[in-house]
Symmetry: C2
Subunit: 147 residues, 2 copies
């Protein structure tokens, strides 16, 4: 039986491949759904908050946001409270893309879980929450150890 991480990575990569195809005409790449969704939900979110929420490192966020800015989906500005903090705002183009992005993500979620019963889906969600919590906790403990 494949390990859990093998299964998770396969599902994650297939999802990325699906989004790559769907997003190509919009000049968006596979990871950009997380950005569009979160920036439209919280206009003015900082790059640091995005990195934490999406669980990627800051240099990755900076690179993706630069792409989205060039493609006209977001604007960046320095925080008036702290010049080291960069705030990200969605453009009209981002809000226009939002329904399509949501639909793409929702379709894939329901497609891959079509063989599970409602009860199984609920159990799965519950177990995955426990796993997510541990995965994030690992790095929190590492940070705490450094201090």
């Amino acid at each position: 039986m494949p390990t859990l991480m093998r299964q998770i990575n396969v599902i994650s990569r297939c999802g990325a491949r699906y989004r790559t195809e769907k997003f190509k005409p919009m000049d968006l790449c596979a990871p950009h759904h997380s950005y569009i969704l979160n920036i439209c939900k919280k206009p003015g979110i900082s790059q640091e908050q995005l990195a934490e929420h999406i669980c990627v490192d800051k240099s990755n966020v900076t690179r993706q946001i630069a792409h989205l800015e060039n493609a006209g989906y977001v604007t960046r500005t320095q925080s008036p409270d702290d010049r080291r903090v960069t705030l990200v705002y969605p453009t009209d183009k981002a809000f226009s893309a939002l329904p399509y992005v949501k639909e793409t993500v929702a379709f894939w979620n329901s497609y891959i879980t079509q063989d599970l019963t409602e009860e199984e889906n609920a159990q799965l969600s519950n177990m995955m929450q426990k796993i997510c919590k541990r995965a994030k906790q690992y790095f929190e403990e590492c940070e705490a150890d450094k201090k």
Copy 2:
């Protein structure tokens, strides 16, 4: 409640971050565990078979194999049966790295699932298999539609 794909992507990214840290001293990157494991298991595996097994596109495999070749982990050769097919072989360095790679992957798997009972782990594995099958099937159906 976050969607299943959100949970899967978070766990996948945390796993990648963990491997990035652990693999850095060995000049390996996060995705390379899949390559080292599969190439050591099947010396002479083709790049196409690797792409299919790992669920990434062929250009991605070519790029990662080039990195692994430069770092001394693999050698590449044309198939004697079909010149268009590239076969990949592990070096002694790959076999030396194998126990560390296996240990890194195994630690993370057991770390993130420590809050699940044995029964839950079995249920999870079963559900994830169904989801993996569907995720892969999507692309098989797309390929079939093209024909």
